[in-house]
Structures are given as C-alpha cells and as structure tokens.
Amino acid sequence: MNIRPMQEATFLILTALATGSQHGYGIISEVAEISGGRVRLRAGTLYTALDRLRADELIEVDREEVVDNRLRRYYRLTPEGGRRLAAEAARLQANANAALKRLNPALGVI
C-alpha cells in the first residue's frame, strides 16, 4: 500500500524531533520556529497527533522529568519515524525542484 503524503502538522512535529528528543512545549516552539511562526500548534492538536504518531510507532517516549512539580515527557523519533520523515522530505523536495525548474525559464523567477 502506498504511503500517503503527511499532513503539514505531522511533518513539522517529526521535523522538530529530527535533531533530538523534545517535550510538548519544546515541540510547539520548534514547530513555530521551523515554520517561521506560521504554524502554531495548540495543545489539543499536538497531543492528538503525538498519540497517533506513537500508535503508528513513528515516535516514542524518550524519558520523563518532573520540573517544578510538572511532568515533562520527552519524545523522540523511532527509526521508522526517521525513514518516513526522510521519504516525505525527499518527496516535497522533488516537487519543489520540479516547480522551480519550470518557473525559472518561463518566468525568470529566482
């Protein structure tokens, strides 16, 4: 069965975890930074996505910490999560390259 393209939020969450484990707030901050402030994940959306990604075994819990009496759970990519992210990034890059290649000669863009 073909793997469908990822939703942008999923792609950005996995990208946020690509450099190392992050806790929920860290993921929200990273996603905002990666997307240039365009995507601001809300907690409900984030935890629904994290729950699904854990079920799909694309991410897993790395460790838990208690800071100021509050639980922080760190998530990390699984090897399969890394593979899926790489495949999706390659797919997006190929599409972007194709678009840019066509735009350059036609419109003198870039």
Binding site: I28, R42, T48, D51, R52, E57
Partner: protein, 225 residues
C-alpha cells in the same frame, strides 16, 4: 507564551483546563493529563484567567477524536472504519432502492413468468418474490446496524471485530452469489448494482484491516482502551 519554568499555580485557568481535559477518555487522561496541563499553562497568554474559545474548541475536538477511537488508529484501520461507515450509507441506499423498485421487481417477474402459462407456478414464484422483498426490508436495516457496529468495534481495535468483519464479508460474498443465481441482475438490476457497490466497499475495508500496519493495533488494543 510564558516560560515553562514558571511556578505552577492552581488558578482559575488551570481549573478551566482540567475541566476541558476531563472530556478525554480516562485512559488517555491517566497517562497525559499533567503533561497537557503543563503545556497549556506554558502556552497560555499572560494574565489569562480562562481557556480561550479556540483552545477550548481544540481540546474538545481532540477529546472527541479520541472518544471515537480515531486518534491512535493506524491510517489503514482509520480508512477501513470510514469505509464501514460508508458501507452503512450504501446499504441504506440499497434499502431505499429495494423499497422504491419493489413494484418494478414484481412486474418484471410477473412478465417473465407469463411466458410459462402456468398460473400455479407463477403464484408460487410471486409468493417467493414477496417473501424475498419482506426479508430484504428486515435484513438490510439489520445489515446497516452491523456495518455501524463493525465500524465502531474496529475503530476501538477489538481483535474479534476484525475476525467478525472478515467473516461477515465472506457471508456477503455468498449472498451476492445467491442474488446472481436468483436472477437479481435481470429483475432488480438497481438493487444488484447497489449490493455490488456495498460488496466492493466491504472488500476494500477487509483488505485494509488485513494490512501489516493494522495488525499491531488489534493485537495491542484488544478489549479495553
């Protein structure tokens, strides 16, 4: 956004968030409540005393998805569940078709039987057709309930639901063959096309729940969530 290291407060805001998080399934809350609360408080605007409308909507939406068993569901199972709901709709369309075309079906059979010039046999066949139509009006609504129940149970990841869905699909194959053998294609083509569509939906759903990605969901999440 405030810093995550700020001291925890038992404020109106926290109580508001806890009330919203209470909408989530207990199993999810047990594992995630404090963590979500930490993130909510960390991302709350300075001075806010109640959850914003958009935050509340986001949390309620997430809770509903989980209550419907859709958030942790692998995509293969998710699509299978959606197909099962679609199957219920298609089955309803078949029921409506059967009801609307019952007169045409009787007329078509009557016309075909007239060629045999045997009123006794014609009466027997018409009696059988009438019984068939009554049975359809009882069985098809039951099948709609079965589709909905299978969608719910497979969405929950019950292992028996997968076995049941595959078995029911097997029975539907036999039903379709019987329909064809009874000449449904000739006398009730619209209903048969509908049944064919329902069969294709069932086939797609069964293929999806048999996918490799679907397996762990059923194994790991048997009876409770």
């Amino acid at each position: 956004m405030t810093d995550t290291t700020s001291a925890p407060t038992s404020s109106d805001l926290e109580r508001g968030y806890r009330r919203l998080i209470a909408c989530y399934p207990r199993s999810f809350r047990k594992d995630n409540e404090e963590e979500i609360l930490t993130v909510l408080l960390a991302t709350a605007e300075e001075g806010r005393r109640r959850p914003s409308l958009s935050e509340s909507a986001d949390l309620i939406k997430g809770a509903l998805r989980m209550r419907m068993g859709l958030s942790r569901t692998p995509r293969t199972v998710l699509y299978a569940v959606r197909l099962m709901y679609l199957g219920a709709v298609a089955q309803l369309a078949v029921l409506i078709t059967v009801i609307l075309t019952a007169g045409h079906i009787r007329a078509a059979v009557q016309t075909a039987m007239a060629a045999y010039h045997n009123p006794a046999v014609t009466a027997q066949v018409m009696h059988a057709v009438n019984i068939d139509l009554v049975v359809d009006k009882v069985v098809i609504p039951a099948l709609i309930v079965v589709w909905l129940f299978m969608a719910w149970a497979n969405g929950k990841g019950y292992d028996w639901a997968r076995v049941a869905a595959i078995s029911i699909f097997g029975l539907s194959c036999a039903g379709l063959v019987i329909d064809l053998a009874q000449g449904t294609a000739k006398y009730a083509p619209a209903a048969l096309i509908g049944s064919g569509v329902v069969w294709v939906i069932g086939l797609a759903a069964v293929v999806l729940i048999l996918q490799k990605q679907s397996g762990p969901y059923y194994v790991r999440r048997p009876a409770t969530r």
